[in-house]
Amino acid sequence: MSLVNRQGGRHRQFAWLPALSLLIAAVGYGCARGQTEAETGKIVLHVADWGGASSDPNLNRFEQEVAAAWKRQHPDIQIVQEHIPGSGEYVPKLLTAFVARTEPDIISLDASSAAVFIDNHTLRDLTPLVRADGLDLSVYYPNVLHLAQRGPHLYALPADFTPMMLYYNKRLFDRAGVPYPRDGWTWADFLDACKRLTVWPRGASHPTQYGFLFENWMPGWIMWIWQNGGDVLSPNGRRATGYLDSAPTMEAVQFFTGLVQAHLAPTLSETQALGVDPFEAGQVAMKISGHWNLVGLKASERLRMEDIGVVGLPQNRRRVTVLYEKGYAITNGCKHPREAWEYIQFLSGPFVQQKMAELGIGISANRQVAESRRNLSPLEPVFLDNVKYGLAPWGARVENYAQVEDIGKEMIDEILVGGTPVRQALQDAARRIDAELGF
């Protein structure tokens, strides 16, 4: 036994290690689920939104006012806001939360990714709640409300939205002696303006001013295809061959990529060399964007609001634009659907809508609120009058649309950077999309 005793002392130094770990684990388990502790008696609702914690004082003030107003009306329902930062991270992180069953109660739903959430059975159908409360849905723009509808089922109450419009720099137009774009103008008018607004001094390696800013962001260029009568997918959203590689689509892609190839719009590397926002810097005369752009431009020091004009997109065979919208949805895992319903009605209701519209990021989906702001600025009526031309983005209907957009972006890169002929690039992309969607 002497042998054992001599060694026995050394082993005792290990004995505390498992015990300590178990203690830590036990303490840790107590905090295992990691949900915010509810103040006693209150119901807690977790609301997810995109964008990191903001440094914009207007946005922060808005959130505080909304929170204060809610607290006055419903002191027993506590709202916990979760911001999910990172571009392109919102949808994957939320889906991960759904898989892990740690999803929030309410989510902000972007129309261009609505299908992902709806088709994965993550959102609660609001129609029974609408019927029970007799909510009048006609207060919303119909084509905006439709974005979150699937037949008779409604999955989100709309908050704000925007059609995509064309912004132009009046000063640059004046300087070139080009008349401002008229409502209902055509591709021919647009091309002519581009040519006259591109300034390429003799001997310079590239233009010092461009007519148009082309951004390889599919949500921003798919409208050209629609306006020419083409599309990227079949009506049921399952096939690209026969649509993406059809003649009208090809013409449209030829048209807008041709702008870059003719140096009427800067290439990707030239855009990067120009800096953060070439339109704001007065280096491009026109760009396509949504209502949100007004916020940044208002704060700009280089461009005055009087110099900015907005007009509907130039048309060809059709006059259309696309609508991007944000709404609020209740998740299926929400344990307090009634309270969540109260909250999203509040968010979608006139009080919050008015405050949100004042921020200027989007147009309120509530028609009355939106129309009441018609005359507050010369640009607002232009947005409002183009809403009726707005179509739903594919992402509201097709679950895997994000992959289609990835392939679409690569396709344009192949044409502009790789020099692939348009027909071949479209056919290759169509085949790849079919492989992704068909499976």
Binding site: P92, L95, T96, F98, V99, D119, N120, H121, T122, N400, Q403, E410, D413, R432, A435, F439
Partner: protein, 305 residues
């Protein structure tokens, strides 16, 4: 009648005790390794989208699809490119460094420790630092190129360039992978008896000759071990791609590890992802067997000497 002692038909106690000793680890292995390996094969025969209620059996459809999927082959190709370049280069570098620090010079232990630092540091933090180093114009490498007068090279956006993104990642992997490989080579070098070198020196062999005819052959087992383990982990590389390029630009750095992650945890197609993982597994197995065959042939040659 003679009385014979009772025949013990029971096993000796220690024969079963051993099983008790390994039981906890075996249970753990069963749940987290053995069962998953089988379940992954089953999964690969289904369309298993985690959030959707129906998960139909699709047989070999997943495999048929991935064989025709250009993105899958692109990912495998990228992984092959990464492995074939980073592993031999990394091993050569590690061997060189090992030879350097194998010498009995004072303070050598300090250098050994230093070279191991990247291997134990947070791979996420290192990815962030290297992204910063690779910044065009502002990064440290850009500054160095500028100082050397290579101004146009200083403007290259390494991680966004289709031709340079992968080499940039490979270069970084040499830096992070140096430590463990170096230590393994050191262990191998320590196993070579000194007398061999002394005998060779007496026979008039040059340093290069003793390296080529003593060191290299006797290091073969170690080299093989490092080759296999480095290749396997190179095929599974994930964190640098996730943090630095997300598979871009235009899928030029989308390696198979990242591709499978995307399938399984971004798009939640777990059946398809499992099928892809199995194909990867078979590929790694084939490569390892190939490496084994090549090395054992070499080992035979040397033991015949």
């Amino acid at each position: 009648m003679t009385i014979s002692p009772p025949v013990r038909t029971k096993r000796r106690p220690s024969e079963m005790t051993g099983l008790w000793f390994i039981l906890p680890s075996f249970l753990h292995l069963a749940v987290f390794s053995l069962f998953p390996i089988g379940f992954a094969l089953v999964l690969s025969l289904y369309r298993w989208d985690v959030l959707k209620p129906d998960k139909p059996f699709v047989g070999l459809a997943n495999y048929a699809h991935l064989l025709r999927d250009p993105f899958f082959w692109n990912a495998l190709g990228n992984s092959a490119y990464y492995t074939v370049v980073s592993v031999p280069m990394g091993m050569a570098l590690a061997l060189g460094v090992a030879l350097l620090v194998h010498q009995k010079l004072p303070g050598v232990a300090l250098f050994r420790t230093l070279y191991y630092l990247p291997a134990v540091s947070s791979s996420v933090a290192l990815a962030m630092v290297w992204t910063f180093l690779y910044l065009p114009g502002q990064g440290l490498f850009a500054w160095m190129l500028n100082t050397l007068g290579l101004r146009s090279w200083a403007q290259v956006d390494w991680l966004q360039s289709p031709s340079w993104a992968m080499p940039a990642l490979i270069f970084m992997s040499l830096w992070t992978g140096l430590g463990p490989r170096m230590v393994l080579f050191l262990a191998g070098l320590a196993g070579i008896p000194e007398q061999l070198y002394e005998a060779a020196a007496m026979d008039g062999a040059s340093r290069w000759e003793s390296f080529r005819y003593i060191t290299l052959p006797l290091l073969l087992p170690t080299t093989f071990f490092i080759l296999v383990t480095s290749s396997i982990s190179a095929f599974q590389v994930f964190t640098p791609i996730y943090m630095m390029t997300r598979g871009g630009p235009v899928r030029h750095t989308e390696v198979i590890g990242y591709h499978i992650y995307n399938q399984a945890w971004r798009q939640f197609h777990m059946g398809m992802a499992s099928a892809q993982a199995y194909v990867l597994f078979l590929l790694i197995l084939a490569v390892t067997i190939l490496q084994f065959k090549i090395v054992s042939k070499r080992m035979e040659e040397y033991s015949l000497q």
